[in-house]
Symmetry: C2
Subunit: 214 residues, 2 copies
């Protein structure tokens, strides 16, 4: 089976999950932590080399503060949880805004080794697609090197994006690295994650041709 | 029913269609002309305001010349066909390359009115995502105005992308305008277009929420 080198995860549906369980919207985020760890472990098991999670975006921070506080806390807790594993973490996002959690600043400068290191995990926190594209400068950029001028330049091309929660859109997720990515959507909400979702996405990916636009 | 203002069409599967009919690959493109006109007419009928077709990309031009010649001719023929309708055409792509068909140069400078004008049609010809992003300059660009510095700046945000031929990826289609687009995939090949495909995509789009990342 052909395994993607780099998987992007859009863990959507936390709020809808909370509502469907009679909870207020912001209560859904904490239930997204365990699925994140499970996906991480499955990636290690099958030999994925890089994993990018869509934490929250600059767009998302316009939501009510009960929600922004809850998803920010979930991101901090996720990193805390990951710190007990073997992983190599990079947090990518706009740190020049008060919305960026200070607790995660130290992971933005360079990749941080937890335990023995290993699987690269990228965590998009207060990420914005316009922020990402903002440093592209015309004169000095060779076309083939364009990716190096992204604010997310340490994140490589994504092979497979898996989105939970049924929406079929990228919602600003790494527009340049996602150019050739195959996009698989799972209708279940992210807190209802099951390992079968992951294997189903891998099986689908295995059947795709890879042309990189050629 | 909520109708998208702007639909993007990725008319994929021409070569696979040709092979499945015992033809050589390049024979599929001519059969994609009629579907294009049908989609155009359906868009007018339901009130879509802007329609963008993915003609061919700079990536595509690396294919064998029998194929590049065939898809270039199909693009020229498509514009010829559209010139007999009421439409407002803009061709967008890298004109500074010999791969760009000279016959279409005059439609790249400004929007060209055919007949009484009306529905805006954008046709991506020798388009490349890196080419598109190449003019973004850091210092003079306000974040909110980033789109104005794209080479495709005359093309507005896309609401719904419909891709024929079963592939679930954007393949470099307008990365910035597609940030929030809902993405609908039809398994049939483009030359097998049926109006039902279009209505099925519209019915699906009608059920999506529109958050623009919020």
């Amino acid at each position: 089976m052909r395994i993607p080198d780099h998987i992007g995860v859009i863990p959507d549906g936390n709020r809808r999950w909370a509502l469907s369980h009679g909870l207020t919207r912001e209560k859904g985020y904490a239930s997204g932590l365990k699925p994140g760890l499970e996906v991480f472990k499955l990636c290690k098991k099958v030999g994925v080399k890089e994993l990018t999670f869509y934490g929250f975006t600059m767009d998302n921070t316009k939501r009510p503060s009960t929600q922004t506080e809850a998803f920010t806390k979930a991101c901090i807790d996720a990193v805390e949880m990951l710190s007990r594993e073997d992983a190599s973490l990079l947090v990518v996002g706009n740190t020049e805004s008060p919305k960026f959690p200070r607790e995660l600043l130290k992971y933005t400068r360079k990749r941080h080794k937890f335990g023995k290191g290993g699987l690269k995990v990228n965590f998009l926190v207060n990420y914005g697609w316009h922020w990402d594209l903002y440093n592209l400068k015309q004169k000095k950029v060779k076309k083939s090197k364009l990716q190096k001028y992204l604010n997310s330049s340490d994140i490589s091309r994504v092979d497979l994006i898996i989105r939970w929660g049924g929406r079929r859109r990228l919602s600003g997720f790494l527009p340049v690295q996602s150019i050739y990515a195959d996009f698989y959507v799972i209708d279940d909400y992210w807190p209802d994650f099951k390992p079968e979702h992951f294997y189903e996405a891998l099986a689908w990916y295995d059947k795709q041709d890879i042309t990189l636009g050629g």
